[in-house]
Each structure stands twice: as C-alpha cells, then as structure tokens.
Symmetry: none
Subunit: 220 residues, 4 copies
C-alpha cells in the first residue's frame, strides 16, 4: 500500500483524518478533480490551507490518498467474500450485493472512482497500477476455473472474457447507484422506480449471469 500523504497526516487524530477525507470526497465527487478547490476543502474541513499542505504535498496527493482508502475498503469486502462458503453463483451474488451495498454507502467515493477514468487523470490511474483490478480479476478467474473443473458451468465459455463481462455488469450496477448520469440511464431502461427495489435488480442480474454461465441448450 503506497502512501500519498505525508507523515504528519498519520499523526493527527483519526477523527480529524476522517473529517478531512470525507470533506475532500464530497468536494471531489461534486466537482471532479479539476473542479475541486483545495482551499474550499480545507475551510470546510475546518483546517487551514497551510495544514492541508502539511498533510498532502499536492491536490493530487490528497486525491490519491482518497482512492487508496477506497481500495482498502474494497479489498476488505472482497476478502470477506473470498473466505465465505458457497458455490460460484452464491459467491457472485455476494459480489453483486456487496457492490450494491458499497455503492449505496459510499456513492461519492464511487463517483470519484468513475471520474478517475477521465483521460485527463489517466496519469493517476497509471500510478495506481491496476492493483485493485488485478485482485478482482484473479478472484473471478479462480472462481470460474474451479467451477468449470467441477463441471458446474458451460465448458465452452472463455473464462477470462466471462470474468470481464461479470465484473463489467457489476461495475455498471455501481455506477448506476452513484452517478447522476447512469442513474438516469437506469431509469430510462427499467423505469422511474428502478432504484427503489434493490432486490429486483439483484434477481434480474443474477438471472442474466446464471443463464450466461450454465451449460446451454443448443439453440433452435
């Protein structure tokens, strides 16, 4: 886990750390990285700009610190699922539910994650070096390989493309909870109440994914 904040930041009370990061998350989520104003974040967090720069060397470092924290949370969630019992479908469902829960709990954090995909910020995502994505990818790979070995899913599927498709669906689900744009899009597809019935979404998605994985009838 690389550290993008200075030593000083580690030494202040956890409560204050959290307050600063929370404020920053809110600002970055609301205005994007280039639009966020460090002075405003400092003021809202109740610290001076000077202090801000004692904690983080630059606006970018503050941003990256936030991302790293988010990674920490994601990793924990993933770890929990990794150590839970259940077959492949139960585990994928856990993933879907965890993603949903996470997006609901930290929508701003997830919005920031979406902003990170902007080309102007690609040098940052390069810094993060896809660590998180690698963990997720390996998780699915293992899951699929083992299910295939047990004959539980269609042997003709390409395990890696399949893993990507599943993760893509889950990622888009999260975006639909956190980004104004994707939320509207979801409403257009599913109807205005789309976001009220989480359970329906999960069942719909799991139906789709199960169908995709299970050994298929020959068409026709």
């Amino acid at each position: 886990m690389e550290k993008y904040h200075k030593e000083t930041f580690s030494r202040i009370p956890a409560e204050k750390q959290q307050r600063i990061l929370d404020t920053a998350v809110a600002e970055f989520a609301a205005n994007g990285f280039p639009g966020a104003n460090i002075n405003v974040i400092a003021k809202k967090a109740g610290i001076s700009i000077g202090a801000m720069y004692k904690y983080f060397g630059s606006k970018e470092d503050l941003f990256l610190t936030i991302i790293e924290r988010a990674h920490g949370l994601l990793e924990e969630a993933l770890d929990d699922i990794d150590h839970s019992p259940g077959d492949i479908f139960q585990r994928i469902e856990m993933m879907v539910r965890a993603a949903q829960r996470y997006a609901r709990a930290f929508p701003e954090l997830h919005q920031i994650y979406l902003d990170l995909t902007s080309e102007g910020l690609s040098h940052m995502s390069r810094k993060l070096s896809g660590k998180m994505e690698t963990i997720t990818a390996r998780f699915y790979e293992k899951l699929i390989d083992s299910a295939m070995a047990q004959g539980r899913i269609d042997p003709r599927l390409d395990p890696r493309v399949t893993a990507l498709c599943i993760d893509n669906l889950i990622l888009m689900l999260q975006y639909s909870y956190t980004s104004d744009y994707f939320r509207e899009r979801m409403k257009i597809f599913i109807g205005p109440d789309a976001l009220l019935d989480d359970e329906k979404i999960v069942r719909g998605m799991m139906g789709f994914i199960k169908g995709a994985l299970l050994t298929q009838k020959q068409p026709g």
Copy 2:
C-alpha cells in the same frame, strides 16, 4: 434535435465547422471539460476566440454541440441496424460490432462521452435528457419483447433488466477501446493482447449474451 450553437455557426462552410469540432473533440478528450482551454481550441482550429464566441455562447455550448453531433452518428448507426434483417442474436451482434467500430473510429468522442458521467458535468447530461439512451432502450425492448413472443429466448428473464445488462456490456466494451483506464483494466482481465483480436472479443461477448438469453436447462 436541440441546437447549442448560434446561427452563425450554421452559416460557415461545413469544412470549417468540422475542423472546429474536431479540434475541440481532441482537446476535450485529452483534458476533460474543465481542463480544456477554449483559447487553445480556437488557435488550433485556426479561428479567433472572438469568432469562437460568435459561434458558441460558452465553453459549455461548444461541448454540448459536440455531444449532439455524436448522438447524430450513433442514431444513424442504430437506424441502420434497425432496418437490417436478422434474428435477435444477429442484431445484437451487429450492435456489438457497430459499437466496436464506432469506438475504434471515434475514440476521442467516446472518451468525452465518458467524461460526461462526471458529477461536475451532470447538469449537462440532464440537459441532454437521455434522448440517446431512450432510443437505445426502446430498441432493445422491442427486440427482446418480440423474441420472447416468438419463444426464442428464456421467458423467465426480466426484459428491461436484460436490456440494460446487454447495453451495459456493450458500453463497457466501448470504454475499453477509448479510455486509458478501461483499456488497462481489460488487459488485466484478458491479457496484454486483449485489444488486438477484436473477433475474439465479439465471440466471447456473444457467447456470454447468448447463454444469458437462451432458455436454460434447470441447474443441477
């Protein structure tokens, strides 16, 4: 089709229009909306800033004009497919291929589209009012409803969630061609050569989607 540019813009030669928009697309894609510099765009396009503001009332209007043009292109592509023969799978495959082609041909345009999902720009996506998304959603709806009526796909699927899942997969495919971040992500999942073999991606995705749609054996 709403118009975000001034009358004057319509009156200048199409070639000049295109040059201005192309330059703007490149700048917005490279730097994001807040990072792009209108004065730089004007200079690179070979017009004066004064002229720029004669054509577009603001930076935002220029941006929205670009999006509208992109919509036009998408609509055409969709229309073509709508009027082509073929069953649901053939038509979805057309969609996948069209999406792939479009993303390959206009990666910068698509990157801009991705940036539009940033919260700082949500007031713009609200202005665009999901027209494009509505068209796509209705297209899939019709496709699925009719295939279901003909008994060609699993009747237990939720048509609307299914439509969303399919479009999500296609959208993510496009992002993978246009955004640095998603490209890296794809490589992590599929391997470093992920983007070299378009055909493999299409087959993999179609395998996944077909499985999801076809009437399934009971698990177990």
Copy 3:
C-alpha cells in the same frame, strides 16, 4: 539577440512597452528578483495581470527582457567608443565616462545587473551566456595588444589580467553609483562628498590606470 517576450509585446505601442519595462525595472531594482511582485508591476504600469502574461510568459521572461534591453544600450555605447579616434588612454577614459554616464542615467538597470550575480539567479546569467562580457573583453584585448605592439604600454604586463583589472575597476565604479551598499562604501573610502565630483573620480581612476599601464621605472 534572443527574445524573451512574446510576439504580442512587440505589437503594442512603444510608449506602453517602455512604461511596462520602466515600471518593472523600478520594482526589480527596489526588491530584487524574488522580492518583486508581478501583480504590483502590472498594476503600477496600468495593465492587467492577464495582459502581463500575454506579453511575458513568466516573471523570469520579463526580467530577462529587461536585461536584454540593457545589453542593447551597453552595446551601443561600446560601439560608439570603438569607432571614436584616440589613443588607448583616451579610449579607456571614454569607457570610464560612458560607464559613469550610464550608471547615472540608469541606476536601477545597473542595480538589477548586480542582483543577477546572486547565486539564486545564476541559471539566468547562464542563459545570457556572457555575450556582453565577451564583447567588452575583446574590446580591451584589442586595445591593449595594439598599444603594446606600438610600445605605448609596459610589455611585461599580462594583457588579459590587465584587461580584467581595468574592467573590474570600471564595473565597481558603476556599482558605486547604483547600489546603496557600494555607494556607502565609496563614501567611507573617499569621503561623504564622493559622489558629488564625478570629475575627481575620473581623474583619480585614470591616474591609477595610467600608472599601471605605462612602462615603469624599476622599483627602488
């Protein structure tokens, strides 16, 4: 002659150019390079900061533009002397008087030149690449070599060290007119009225220099 200002600066009225540079000279001379404030210079010159940055890419560029202008003035003066008739002593006296005149006319410009010797600004003096100094050095070299060939000055002198000594004396004379510090120093050496009688200084210095150059009696 390299140019450190942008094209735009060349296009504004000469009177305005001069006003901006004069204001800048005053500020840089009074506060040194790091101490000078660009926003203040712009305000005092009656232009906006934006305009300032349209003319000069940075504080450093403004500074270098000033130096280049000073070089231009120096070069002209040197050229005049180069084309005047007279023996070596008459010509050196012309140099002394020109230096004196220049320092009296543009004390602030010369103060800036002195500041340029600070280590913090050495990257700038490196940019200027000693062009001015080279011209002066060659001027003296020619003068001394030719006078030596004619047997008018002591053949035992090292021509180059001698040239340096003469130029050092003249440079220090200029500093004494422009820098508070060197002015005080001069008063300590010569008395409180040191700067009132320019003629006395010239005669004193020329007496010193002549003695140094003329063929000497053997000591003792």
Copy 4:
C-alpha cells in the same frame, strides 16, 4: 560588535551554533536571502523551527548573525597583516593572498556578502553601518600615506581614490572565486583555466597595482 541573535543562542554548545550557522550559510548562499527557507534550514541543522526562533528573532537576524561572524573572520585576517612586517607592496600582496584564501575557504560566505549588495537588502547593509569597510579603508589609508611620506610611491596619486581602487580590485577577485557569474566573467577575460593558477592571478594583479603606485615615467 552588535549582536543579532538572542541570549539563548550564546548558551548552546559552540558545535551546535556552528552547525546552525553553517547550514544557514549554505542555504542563503544557494538561494539568496528571499529564496532561503528558514524551516528548511532548521530541519537541515537538526533543530526545530521553534528553537530557531528562540535563538533568532527573525530570518533577518539569522542572516545578520552570519554576516557578523564573517566580519569577525575578516577582521582577524586584517589584524594579522597589520601586525606583519613588510613594505607596502608586500603588505598589499598579503591582502591579495588573504582575500584569495578566504574566498577559497568560505565561498558561500562571500556569496552571501555579494547578495547583501542587492537593493532589497540595503536596509540590512545600512544596519551593518560599514564597520568592516571602515577598517579596511583606514588600513589602506595608513599604508598609502606612510609609503608616500617615505617617497616609495608616486606623490601625485590621490591616496583615497587609490585605496578604493586597490580594494575594488581585491573585492572583484574574491567575487570571481565565489559567484558563478563572476567566475564565468573571469574565464571570458583570462581563459577557461583562469581559476586553476592562483599564483598567476596574484602576480598579474600585483604587477598592475605596483605599476599604478610606483612613481611613473612621463608618458611619451
């Protein structure tokens, strides 16, 4: 000897005092007074900023303390020469050599001295009140007056202007050892190896000075 540091500074171990001043000298020499950062100096010296301000009332006081120390060193050197035997030329040569030695030994200290001539720092040089310069001036005055009385040097010379010229030459010699700018200038005049042969410089300068002082042949 005025004191610019607080009492506390006198009470800490001499070794610590020296470490602080040495660090400060290095920073001031490298960045100039306005460019130097007190917090950085404190950190590099291994003390807290709080302690720094317990020892010195301000950045300026630290700077002045350094200058005073330098004065102390110079005074000692001058005193040594004052008490050495030898005629005027031997003693001036001692001065030249001492200046050379000092500049070689403490180039950073001397660079700071040069920076002090910047107008932005003139209020400081005023504080120092030319004590050092007065001592030097009186030293030369005595030397010249006595040599003149003994008929050893040209009686037509202005003793005070002569003293200034000699000291100017020596000062410039020192600058040539310590300032990037003057070093380059010396190379332009004397050649790239200028600084390698100290002996040659001394002989060249002494030749120049001796000629200037000795009773001269009538020109022509």
